[in-house]
Symmetry: C2
Subunit: 171 residues, 2 copies
Amino acid sequence: MLARRGWLSLSVGRLCLGGNYGSGMRYFEDLRVGNKFNSADYEMTEGEIIEFGRRFDPQPFHTDPAAAAGTLFGRLVASGWHTAAVSMRLMVLGEMDLDGGVIGQGMESLRWPRPVLPGDRLRVVTEIVELRPAPARPDRGVVKLRCRTYNQDGKVVQEMTATLLAARRPA
Amino acid sequence: MLARRGWLSLSVGRLCLGGNYGSGMRYFEDLRVGNKFNSADYEMTEGEIIEFGRRFDPQPFHTDPAAAAGTLFGRLVASGWHTAAVSMRLMVLGEMDLDGGVIGQGMESLRWPRPVLPGDRLRVVTEIVELRPAPARPDRGVVKLRCRTYNQDGKVVQEMTATLLAARRPA
C-alpha cells in the first residue's frame, strides 16, 4: 500500500533523538478500517535470543542450546516476550507513523502459534480493524488493530489484537 | 501461602545454568484453582527503562526524560513490553516453580492500567483460575492463570490472563 521503508536506522535516529518526533504523518482521521501497514524486517540472532532469555525469561529453551534439546521445544527458541518486543519496535518504526506515537491501551489477545528460531527474520503487518471515539479523551480516538508478525517463510509467529489511543488532528 | 523467596540470584543461577532445571516442585496435579504464588521484587531503574525503550519501543516517553514532558504521559514511563518482560522473569523465578517450565500458549488479555515509573519496585502474584486437560498432549495440562503485577504502593500496573501448558506427573 505504501512504499516499504528502507531506512530503519534513520527512523531509529529520528525517534530516539526526539528531533521532530510528534510530526508523524497520520492522525486518527487519516486511518480507515482495512488499512494495512508494513514494517522493515529484523533478524533474531542466537546471541540476542539468549541475552533476552537470560534477562527476562530464564528457562533453558531460551538460554542454552544444549539444554534446550531436552525440553518440550527440543531446541533453542526465542521467548514470546522477545518476539513481542521486537514486533513493537517494527510497528513503531513502520509505515503506520502515528502522530503522538503508539500508545497501547491493552491487548485482547496475543498468541504465538509457531516458535521463533535463531536466524529467523521477522516483519510485521498491522491492519486497522475498528475505529471509534475515545469518550474520556476528545483529543484522541481508539484504534483497534490486528498485528501479525511473520517469519521469512511467510508463517505467522505472533498474532495480536490490541487497542491504542491515536491523536486527532488539531482543529 | 509459601515462604517468600529471598534468593533471586540463586534462582537465576540455577535456571540459567540449567543444572537441575526440570526438577521443579510442581506438576499439573499439584495445582488447585485459587492457588496464589508470589514473586521476588524488581526495581525498574531509569537506565533500564531507557535502554529497553531504545531497543524495543523507541518513543520519547520511553527514551528521553526531557522530551517525555511534552507527550501524553508528561514524563518518562516504562514500555508496557518492558513491564511484561520483567513480570515474566518474576513469574518464572517465583513460587509457582512448575516442572518443565512456564510455556505460554497465549494471552486472553493484557492491560497496563497504570504507568510504571523510574524507581518503581514490581512484584507479581499469579493465581490459578482454571485447570483442564490438554486433549492433544496427554503429558500436559492446560492452566489458565491471572497474573497481576503490583508496584511498591500495591497498585496494579499490569494484569494478564494467560494459558500455559504444565507437565503432568510421570506415571
